[in-house]
Structures are given as structure tokens and as C-alpha cells.
């Protein structure tokens, strides 16, 4: 019982990190139809900024987090108008792959050049160190924090997409871009805002997840398959789909590793194949929220 509970908690924490990072990818894929393979690189940039801000300027964790998200958005926004705008739409998937892989390479090399190949850390505040008791299992405070942060992100996104003007426009544009344009929704600005949202979420996940997905230059390439898996299982453009997919994959991975540690990788990918068989369009196809 305690073990089952432990697997569930660990799986949920892992899933929440995957969710925070992947949901940005899902939203941009759903709206702009961009297979943004540089999404992992954006998450990594966020992590590095936070690490640098905390280590070299002594910023507290929360401050570093905010600075990281803002700076990453600011730094990547020009990319939207310079690069991404040229490759929106689904006639361009191959160009998207090539361009975003190229961009990833450049970011990886730059980070390697600036910060070196060694691991980077974002120091946790006292508050998040140690463990908290959750029923029969004690879990690291940081993990509990991540679970809460993931839930808050989910709710925040739900509110943003369901309850705000931006959300209505965004959903309209995802459902029918031509119609949205006809209705006078300025897709250009909408795209830019969505891109910013996507990279902001990536950066947030990169910072919060640094304990699980450690920061090093190859981060950008190492985990992108994982993020893509979440989007594929969740259904592109779906917030709740991403959450469900991330949790399902997180728990599957955790359970597989516990139960059959020597064949954990098999278990994960076999489960992925089975899920995609049952839901070839993802859990929540075509629903934005």
C-alpha cells in the first residue's frame, strides 16, 4: 500500500514537470502548427538563466524564477518574428524540423560555450528542502511544491483559455484559423502572444524541473522526445490532454521502473505504442482546454 502510494506520488510529481514543460509545446503546435523542436532548448535557457541569476547575483529562488521566465520570453520573442513566422502552417513541417533543429544546435553550442559542459544547479530555498509527510510516505518538499505548481499552472491555463478574451480568441483561432481571421482576430499578434506563452511555460518548467531534469547543454536534445510524447498522447493544443498525458506517462514510467527496473525502457515505450493505438489522435483531440 505504501509502495503503491509512493509510486503514485512520484509518478504525479514527474508527470507534473513533464506537463509544465510540454503544455507550451502543445499550445504552439495546436495553434501555429509548428513542430517546435527547440522547445526543450527554451526550457533549458530558462533553467540556465535562473541558475545564473541565483548563483551570480544571489537572487532568491522566486526572484530567479520570475527573471528566468521573463528573460527567456524576451530573448525568444524576436525569434518568433524573425524565424518562426516564416514557417507557420502545416505545409512547412519539414522546414520546421530543419529550422528548429538548427536553432537547437545553436542554442546548445552557445550554452556550452558560455557556461561549459558541467551540470548547473538552481539552489533551493530552505523552505523547499527536506521532506514533508504525505500520509504514509514522506516526499521531498520540492516534489510536493512541483505538484502544487503543476496544479496551479493547469488551473491558470484553464482560466486563461476559458475565461479571458485572449483565450476565446486563441481557441477560435485553433479551431478555425480562416474563420478567426475573417472575424477580425489579429492572428499575428495572437501568434506572438501564444509563442510567448509557450516559451514562458517552457522556461517555468525548465526552472521548476531542474532537480529532475538536470541542467546541462544537451538538455535541449535529451528530453525533447519525452515532451513530444506528451503532446502526441495528449493531443496537440489541448491543455487538459497534456495534463492527462503527462500524468499517465509519468506514472507509467515510474511504475515500470519500480516493478521491472531492468526492462523499464521497454515498458515505457510499449505503453506509449499501446496508448497511441487506442487514442491515435491523443486523449483530447481538438479541444483547447
Amino acid at each position: 500500500m505504501e509502495t503503491l502510494f509512493g509510486i503514485a506520488v512520484d509518478g504525479v510529481a514527474y508527470g507534473m514537470i513533464l506537463f509544465i514543460i510540454s503544455v507550451g509545446l502543445s499550445v504552439t503546435l495546436g495553434l501555429m502548427r509548428v513542430v517546435n523542436l527547440a522547445h526543450g532548448a527554451f526550457a533549458m535557457v530558462g533553467g540556465y538563466v535562473a541558475s545564473y541569476a541565483a548563483q551570480s547575483f544571489g537572487l532568491p529562488y522566486a526572484g530567479a524564477l520570475v527573471v528566468a521566465v521573463l528573460l527567456t520570453v524576451l530573448a525568444t520573442l524576436p525569434l518568433e518574428s524573425l524565424l518562426y513566422r516564416r514557417i507557420y502552417g502545416h505545409a512547412n513541417e519539414l522546414s520546421q524540423v530543419l529550422l528548429t533543429i538548427g536553432l537547437t544546435f545553436v542554442i546548445v553550442a552557445s550554452v556550452n560555450y558560455l557556461f561549459g559542459p558541467s551540470l548547473k544547479r538552481i539552489p533551493l530555498p530552505e523552505l523547499l528542502q527536506g521532506t514533508v509527510a504525505l500520509g504514509p510516505k514522506s516526499i521531498p518538499t520540492h516534489r510536493a511544491f512541483v505538484i502544487v505548481a503543476g496544479a496551479v499552472t493547469l488551473l491558470g491555463l484553464w482560466w486563461l483559455l476559458e475565461r479571458t478574451d485572449f483565450g476565446i480568441r486563441l481557441r477560435a483561432a485553433v479551431d478555425d484559423p480562416a474563420m478567426a481571421a475573417a472575424l477580425g482576430i489579429r492572428t499575428e499578434r495572437l501568434y506572438m502572444a501564444t509563442f510567448a506563452l509557450g516559451t514562458g511555460l517552457a522556461a517555468l518548467g525548465g526552472v521548476l524541473g531542474a532537480e529532475l531534469l538536470p541542467l546541462e547543454p544537451y538538455y535541449a536534445i535529451r528530453y525533447i522526445v519525452l515532451f513530444l510524447a506528451v503532446v502526441a498522447v495528449g493531443g496537440a493544443g489541448s491543455v487538459f490532454g497534456s495534463a492527462a498525458a503527462a500524468l499517465a506517462l509519468g506514472i507509467t514510467d515510474t511504475a515500470g521502473k519500480y516493478l521491472i527496473p531492468n526492462f523499464g525502457e521497454f515498458f515505457f515505450y510499449a505503453a506509449l505504442i499501446l496508448i497511441l493505438f487506442r487514442w491515435p489522435q491523443g486523449f483530447f483531440k481538438g479541444k483547447t482546454a
Partner: protein
């Protein structure tokens, strides 16, 4: 008819292409194959730094010859690419030595080449025992998992631990470590209750920790290659209450290599590892090594086992050159360093004439914070350990 024609034609092609020029006697080239980019770039960087330190101390010439290093990037384990690079180094660059090799398959891939070209290859890192069996021209200046694990397993048994569990990365060296620990520990009267092999790409180790916790073992032997996963592993160990449950951690020192220590932080404090090099090793040789390191690169924080592997590897190359002179015969050169002993920054070492692997002191270390900086403090030493895994089969 056509066959003979084709044969003649191809023969002509071959003959034309066969104009191999003689190497420039004044410059001896050493080809270094290692990851200089990508996720394992730390290997390449520390190799390069180790080489630079050696050349800064001992000069760039041996006798009348200048030694020049040619670097080739091999960003991840890729034996076919390794072989192609080695081929290019031998054929095009006309190198007299090969060196480097972070990963086992990359080293194994060049065995037929160095035999055919008759040049020595000095392995700076790749740690599977079987490598030196593949060619008599391999010499290794690093370590093997067997070498580091056997004294550790005996130590764990001596501490009175009866039940242990192993958790290793699922690849060659990890499996070597698991085998070494199991064999040694069981021979010393202990029991290994479970052997976990973790995928190399694992990022979340909590489930493994849960399993270790549930296994009833008193100690865990863990091995992961140096790099990002060690951080997640160490954190998971600290975070999942294993310490509180009294489960002791033991493992080879890759997991607490110096460049990673600042990132690992307090999670690894008090962790016991066995290894052949610690930056905190107390000796004159190490002090001057680190001083030179700092002088050249501004900081010696990154000086670690791979830097020393390269540093001593270059020492082997210089010695081979000095003993055989200019253009070397690979077998003779290797012969020249068999049994060679010297004082390395890691301590006294000898090249085992049989296995051509480095015989060295294995230290038992604990991670401590000294003057605000984490370090591997040596607590015990097991001198002159050979590679216990040599010729044990796979």
C-alpha cells in the same frame, strides 16, 4: 575475361592511390578521439586540459621531436565513426599514437586498425576490462570498474553489512561493476538481494529508490557514468529518505566527480566512494598538477579523474617516444612502458606488464565540505590494485 579486366583496373586504381608519404620525423602527431561537443563534452575538455598541463610542465618536445596533438570530436559512443576518425588520423594525419576514448565501444572499434598500422593507443578513460584484451597495442591510464569495485566490496563486507543491493546503469561498465561487486561481496560472506539495471537515459530515480528501500538491503552499491544523471540519482537518494532508513551508499567515484560537485551540493555530503583520483589527494605531485592547472585555466575546480587519465596517458606517450625514438614500432613502444612506474598526481602507479592496464592505489573517500567547497576526502587507501576484471571473460 571481364573479371580479369576488372581486377586489372582496380589493381591499377589501388597502385595509384598507394603513394603513402613518410611521416615528418621532426613532428610526432598524437590523434585524440574524444567527445568535445555534445552531452559528454566534459570528457574532451578535461582530456584537453590534462594534456595541456602535461605539456606545460614537461615541454612539447621529446628529444628532437615535437609532439603535436590532433583532436577529433566524437560526440557520443559511435564505434563506426570512431573507426573512421582513427583511420583518418592514421592515413591522413599520419599520427604515431592514438589516444583519448571516453567510451568502450569507441576504443574497441580501433583495435583492428592499430594492429594493422602497428601504432599504440593510449586509453584515457574507457573502463571496461575487456578492451586491453582486444589488441596488444592498447595501454590504459584510467581505471576499470573491477579495479574500483573489488576493494570497495571488501570494505563494505568488513563494515559488517550482510545484505546489499546493486543499482547500475545498464551498459558495459555498469554491468562490470555489478558483476565485480556481486562476486567480491558474496565471496566475503554477504548477500546481494537484488540487482537493478537502470536505463542510461533515466532521469527520475525515485522509483528505483523506492525499490531499494523495499528490498531490505543495508547498503546499496551504485554506479552511473559521470554526467547529468548522477545529480538526479544523488538527489533522489537524499530525498527519498534512504539515509534515514539507515541504508548506506557506496559506489565508484564517477558519481562524485569534481566538476559535478558544486551542482550536486549537499545531496552527496557524506557519500562514500572508492576511486583512484581525488582533487583533494595530499601529495606534492598533485599540488603542482593543480597549481599548473590553475595557472593555465584560471581555476582547478574541473580537474578530475579524466584530466589525470589524460595527464598520465601523455606521460606514457612521452616515455614510449623517449625509449624508442622518433618513428615508433607500436609493439616495441608498448613493450617499453610495460612495468613502468611513476608518481602520478593520483599517487604511485605502475603499468601492469600483463594487462597493460594501470596498477594504482584505490582510495576510499567521503564527500566533505572544506573551506566552503565540497571535496572527496580520502579516508583509506588500498595500494597497488590491479584490474581484477582482466581476462575474466566478458
Amino acid at each position: 575475361m571481364t573479371t580479369t579486366l576488372r581486377k586489372a583496373l582496380l589493381g591499377a586504381v589501388f597502385a595509384t592511390a598507394l603513394g603513402a608519404g613518410a611521416a615528418d620525423a621532426a613532428t610526432i602527431k598524437v590523434g585524440v578521439i574524444a567527445p568535445f561537443s555534445g552531452p559528454f563534452a566534459m570528457f574532451g575538455q578535461t582530456f584537453k586540459e590534462g594534456i595541456a598541463v602535461y605539456q606545460a610542465v614537461h615541454g612539447k618536445t621529446v628529444g628532437a621531436d615535437t609532439v603535436e596533438f590532433v583532436f577529433k570530436d566524437l560526440d557520443q559512443a559511435n564505434p563506426a565513426q570512431s573507426k573512421a576518425l582513427a583511420q583518418e588520423l592514421i592515413v591522413k594525419e599520419k599520427v604515431s599514437f592514438l589516444a583519448g576514448f571516453a567510451f568502450t565501444p569507441d576504443a574497441m572499434a580501433v583495435a583492428p586498425l592499430i594492429d594493422e598500422a602497428n601504432i599504440p593507443a593510449v586509453i584515457f578513460n574507457a573502463a571496461t576490462s575487456a578492451i586491453t584484451e582486444k589488441s596488444p597495442r592498447f595501454v590504459r591510464s584510467s581505471f576499470t570498474l573491477w579495479q574500483n569495485t573489488v576493494p570497495l566490496a571488501n570494505h563494505v563486507a568488513k563494515l559488517g553489512v550482510k545484505k546489499a543491493i546493486t543499482a547500475v546503469s545498464d551498459y558495459g561498465p555498469g554491468i562490470d561493476g555489478e558483476a565485480a561487486f556481486k562476486a567480491t561481496f558474496e565471496k566475503a560472506g554477504g548477500a546481494v538481494v537484488d540487482t537493478i539495471r537502470m536505463p542510461l537515459k533515466s532521469t527520475d530515480f525515485a522509483p528505483f529508490m523506492q525499490r531499494i528501500k523495499d528490498s531490505g538491503a543495508e547498503a546499496v552499491y551504485a554506479f552511473l557514468p559521470a554526467g547529468p544523471t548522477t545529480l538526479a540519482f544523488a538527489k533522489a537518494f537524499a530525498d527519498n529518505g534512504l539515509k534515514e532508513k539507515g541504508i548506506q551508499f557506496f559506489g565508484p567515484g564517477d558519481i562524485t566527480q569534481e566538476p559535478d560537485l558544486p551542482a550536486l551540493g549537499d545531496a552527496v555530503l557524506g557519500m562514500t566512494t572508492s576511486f583512484h583520483y581525488s582533487q583533494a589527494h595530499e601529495s606534492a605531485a598533485n599540488k603542482s598538477f593543480l597549481a599548473k592547472y590553475k595557472e593555465l585555466f584560471g581555476s582547478s575546480d574541473n580537474a578530475t579523474f579524466t584530466s589525470v587519465g589524460a595527464y598520465d596517458g601523455v606521460h606514457l606517450i612521452y616515455t614510449m617516444l623517449a625509449k624508442t625514438g622518433g618513428k615508433s614500432d607500436g609493439l616495441k613502444a608498448v613493450e617499453a612502458v610495460k612495468g613502468l612506474s611513476w608518481e602520478s598526481p593520483r599517487g604511485p602507479v605502475t603499468i601492469d606488464p600483463d594487462s597493460r592496464h594501470i596498477r594504482q592505489t584505490i582510495y576510499l573517500r567521503t564527500v566533505e565540505r572544506v573551506n566552503g567547497k565540497l571535496q572527496n576526502t580520502e579516508k583509506d587507501a588500498f595500494p597497488a590494485q590491479p584490474d581484477f576484471g582482466y581476462k575474466l571473460g566478458k
